[in-house]
């Protein structure tokens, strides 16, 4: 197997407004199985970063353990990163985020990493609405440890072992909406046309953006009996909406007929234009968002797209009113109020 990729890239490869080519966002060559959905998800992240002209050194990647959690090695090779322990990505991301709120945080996890061992961590990151892009590459199994059913495996679904899963599945998106995430989306690794804008929207969003990427495990869970196989997902996928992500300062060129679209202005001023297939759906309404998910599930369909967005929930820093400056830029003068202040406090306690 190749351990490196040729260094040549297309001679007319485009540069983004920051002067980077797509290659500047790549990482090492993947060691995952050929055809793993995680590699496509990885490439969608690369594409989103390239298109948004994000400066690689302004990004920190965090992950737990799993094939999915290995992927930060395969993108943004020039960014900061921390590969933590199983299920602990949210803690590490929280710590880093508290220390420096200026970076863009990409947290990578898997369904095992999130919905089993890391469930407690996941819940609290959601609850605090940490300004983190939480990407879960969901293959319904523990890929790295040879494909055991995970907590997101649908009841009755059977992977390579052939034993149907007897337990009910956790819907991470519903849970995320329930527990306080302010941007929730679901994509499919096999559909970058939808996935890349979802990731871009998440990056523009302030607060916890959770993206559940259905990402087939070709080796252990791509069987005809699995509900997380390429074929099953393609056949059962239902898009809530298609949307345009319009970065700040870019002119809106498309024309949207009344009632068919919903406009969401992101914190950084970019705009998301949703083209709704169903006028009854409202992605800014939490109850309706959960209803939509449940309705489609009842029909045996898998709802994808932008599921929920709420611009009014404060992110952790704003809730706890923390400093705007990265901790490493604070000097003694900033941190130590001085003897006079201390005397005053002491006096107040006497």
């Amino acid at each position: 197997m190749s351990t490196d990729r040729p260094s040549f890239r297309h001679p007319q490869a485009a540069r983004n407004t920051a002067g980077f080519t797509r290659k500047d966002y790549e990482g090492a060559i993947s060691t995952l199985c050929a055809g793993c959905g995680h590699d496509s998800a990885t490439n969608a992240i690369i594409q989103a970063c390239f298109e948004l002209a994000i400066e690689p050194h302004r990004v920190a990647k965090m992950s737990g353990i799993g094939c999915s959690s290995k992927t930060p090695a395969y993108f943004l090779g020039r960014s900061h990163g921390f590969n933590s322990v199983h299920g602990r990505m949210p803690s590490v991301a929280t710590g880093a985020n508290m220390a420096n709120r200026d970076l863009l945080y990409i947290g990578i996890s898997g369904d095992g990493d999130t919905a089993s061992i890391g469930m407690g961590q996941f819940a609290h990151a959601l609850r605090r609405n940490l300004n983190l892009n939480y990407i879960c590459m969901n293959n319904g199994c523990y890929g790295l440890t040879k494909g055991q059913d995970s907590a997101t495996a649908d009841r009755g679904s059977a992977g390579k072992k052939g034993v149907p899963n007897p337990y009910s599945a956790i819907d991470l998106c519903e849970l995320a909406i329930e527990l306080g995430a302010s941007y929730v989306a679901r994509g499919f690794s096999g559909d970058k046309q939808q996935l890349v804008p979802l990731i871009k929207g998440a990056f523009a969003h302030s607060g916890l953006a959770f993206i559940d990427i259905i990402s087939p495990c070709v080796t252990f869970n791509n069987t005809a009996t699995s509900t997380k196989s390429y074929e099953y997902v393609r056949e059962h996928i239902e898009a809530t909406n298609t949307f345009d992500f319009i970065p700040l300062q870019q002119e809106i060129l498309a024309h949207y007929p009344e009632g068919t679209s919903q406009e969401v202005v992101m914190h950084d001023g970019s705009i998301i234009h949703l083209h709704k297939t169903d006028a009854g759906r409202d992605v800014t309404n939490r109850r309706k968002a959960v209803d939509s998910l449940e309705e489609e599930k009842a029909k045996g369909r898998l709802l994808t797209g932008l599921l929920y967005v709420n611009q009014n929930i404060m992110e952790t820093h704003d809730i706890i009113n923390s400093t705007l400056r990265p901790l490493n830029s604070l000097t003694e003068a900033d941190l130590c109020p001085g003897n006079t202040a201390l005397q005053k406090i002491n006096a107040g306690l006497r």
């Binding site: 190749s2 040729p6 001679p11 055809g35 970058k192």
Partner: protein, 592 residues
């Protein structure tokens, strides 16, 4: 677009840019691969079968393959294909066990070859193994033609030439050397079954109407005749101040030869801008490196004669102008004529065909340009058993084109002698072989080297300028040859796509370093080219289109800058991509 028909042998042939561009369609990547494996004999044999003169062409070929080389589309310089050919010739073992058997019992058909250059020799080589009796007529004392008389030894040592010419003659050619054919009728009367005319473009153009031309007398020479005279040592010295007129390769050979015959000052003067010169860029470079100035935009006005002696020339300065319809032409400037002193002038201003030995009553139809009227495929003239090839066929081209003509003429002659339709020609033989080895490995070296083109070492300049027989280029060593060979992108190993097993997981799209692959809705070519992942504006290069996939989309691969690295095949979970080596061999005479 319709799904690509990869069963058409020309589809993948075209992907092998070098082989496709080569007039003889030499399987270049395969011989380069042999070199990188140290199999010089095999590399030589592949060349010899296809282009007949690997040692010669490895030095003086016009190399149309190199500008076509894919490598030059992904980095600055193409693979040094020509010099690698020389590597094969330099390091092959002395034996000649690759030679085809020539039957002792002849087939009773007799063929005459007029002219002993590369075209005729190729015909001889192709027909002898089939049992033909081959008589070769040439006016020189040794066969070889233009490559013997006009290419100087410092570019092509006589030893190399002799070896390659003799290899063919020794297969059993009946040579009639020192034999000027001054009547084709006489040859026709000898009752040959077929006659092949490969007499080249033997006449160098003169400037007969330029004032002072006749008074200049023997200080003014026709370049190609002068080069031949040097070869035969009729000329052993050059005037101290030499002007060489013309911008082609003959001009470069003349000036560099003059420099080696003790000329003190040699200057090349060209009518047109330097960028329009016909000489190969590397020949121009070599001349300049030897300290020969090239003065462009100067058209000759007159030879200046003083007391019966040539003392210089007048030139008119020219400038290139673009007229209303975008055509560029040369026009004189208003500046006064420029005088350049000299005591010798070599005219290398072009070559023309001449057939003084063809009697009109033979009935060979000629064109207005003084060339025979030929069927472009079969090389047959208006007299069914008379064929033409090389520069004699369609005007001056180059050695490799002459070889290609020779192959085609040999096929025609064989079909003709067997009473078959000359247009029902044998097809190329092709083959497609999987390169998969075990689960993960490939049979070819798929790594893409980042090495830049290696320069060929040369002998000491001062030494080489003193000795016109000393070859300037030393050729690659085995080691450098190997390194240069590793730059080849294996364009003969094709990416074959099986749409029926593809699950559209995007793995190939994601891994492809050049973003060659796109899955998208079908459309016409122009539209598709605007919707691919990477810019797709090289229309010379094909798009490979699959039938519709389950999502309704098609796979589109732009062949343009594919590195043939095999990563798509490696990353595909269903082996829908497979690397397969495509072999394309031109037919030779006698094949079906």
């Amino acid at each position: 677009m319709k799904p690509t028909n990869i069963d058409n042998p020309e589809y993948f042939h075209k992907v092998i840019d070098c082989q496709y561009a080569c007039p003889a369609h030499t399987p270049v990547p395969e011989y380069i691969r042999m070199i990188s494996q140290g199999k010089y004999d095999e590399a030589f044999k592949i060349n010899w079968i296809s282009n007949v003169f690997p040692g010669v062409l490895g030095r003086i070929c016009d190399r149309p393959c190199e500008p076509a080389c894919r490598r030059s589309r992904v980095e600055e310089n193409p693979v040094a294909i020509c010099r690698l050919k020389r590597v094969a010739a330099d390091f092959k073992s002395p034996g000649a066990d690759f030679l085809p058997e020539v039957p002792a019992e002849k087939n009773g058909k007799r063929i005459a070859l007029i002219g002993g250059g590369p075209a005729s020799l190729t015909v001889a080589r192709d027909l002898l193994p089939l049992g033909y009796t081959v008589d070769l007529y040439d006016n020189q004392k040794k066969a070889g033609g233009f490559i013997r008389t006009q290419v100087p030894s410092f570019r092509l040592p006589e030893k190399v030439l002799n070896e390659e010419v003799d290899r063919i003659l020794d297969m059993g050619v009946n040579t009639h050397l020192n034999c000027q054919v001054d009547s084709l009728k006489k040859i026709v009367d000898l009752g040959y079954d077929a006659i092949f005319v490969g007499t080249g473009a033997p006449r160098g153009r003169d400037l007969p109407d330029l004032p002072g031309r006749s008074e200049g007398g023997d200080a003014i020479h026709i370049g190609i005749d002068w080069l031949a005279a040097v070869l035969y040592r009729h000329v052993i010295r050059s005037g101290p101040k030499v002007l060489v007129l013309g911008g082609g390769n003959t001009s470069m050979d003349c000036c560099r030869t003059a420099k080696r015959l003790d000329a003190e000052e040699v200057t090349v003067v060209v009518r047109s801008p330097k960028a329009d010169m016909k000489a190969s860029p590397w020949e121009i470079e070599d001349a300049e490196e030897e300290g020969i100035p090239i003065i462009d935009n100067h058209a000759p006005l007159e030879f200046v004669i003083d007391s019966g002696k040539l003392v210089g020339m007048h030139f008119q300065k020219m400038t290139a102008e673009t007229d209303g319809s975008g055509n560029r032409r040369l026009v004189p400037t208003t500046e006064p004529p420029v005088f350049m002193p000299c005591d010798q002038v070599l005219l290398a201003v072009g070559q023309v065909n001449a057939f003084p030995f063809i009697e009109p009553e033979l009935g060979i139809k000629m064109t207005e340009r003084g060339l025979p009227e030929l069927d472009p495929t079969t090389h047959q003239s208006s007299i069914p058993n008379i064929f033409f090839g090389g520069d004699a066929a369609f005007g001056p081209k180059n050695v490799i084109t002459a070889v290609a003509h020779g192959h085609q003429a040999a096929i025609s002659i064989d079909l003709f002698c067997r009473g078959q339709d000359l247009h029902d020609r044998p097809a190329p033989s092709t083959n497609l072989v999987s390169q998969k080895m075990g689960l993960q490995d490939l049979l070819y070296d798929s790594r893409v080297a980042t090495d830049h083109r290696y320069a060929v070492p040369t002998v000491d300049r001062a030494k080489s300028l003193k000795n016109r027989l000393l070859e300037v280029e030393l050729g690659f060593s085995k080691k450098t040859g190997h390194q240069e060979a590793s730059r080849c992108l294996n364009c003969d190993v094709q990416t074959i796509f099986d749409f029926s097993t593809c699950i559209e997981c995007d793995s190939c799209v994601d891994i492809c370093p050049e973003s060659c692959i796109t899955f998208t809705d079908n459309g016409d070519e122009e539209d598709l080219r605007t919707r691919l992942l990477a810019p797709s504006d090289n229309k010379q290069q094909a798009l490979y289109i699959s039938p519709a996939l389950p999502t309704g989309r098609v796979m589109v691969k732009d062949e343009n800058v594919c590195l043939h690295c095999g990563l798509c095949a490696e990353r595909c979970p269903t082996s829908s991509w497979e690397m397969m080596k495509f072999t394309y061999n031109c037919p030779t005479a006698g094949e079906k």
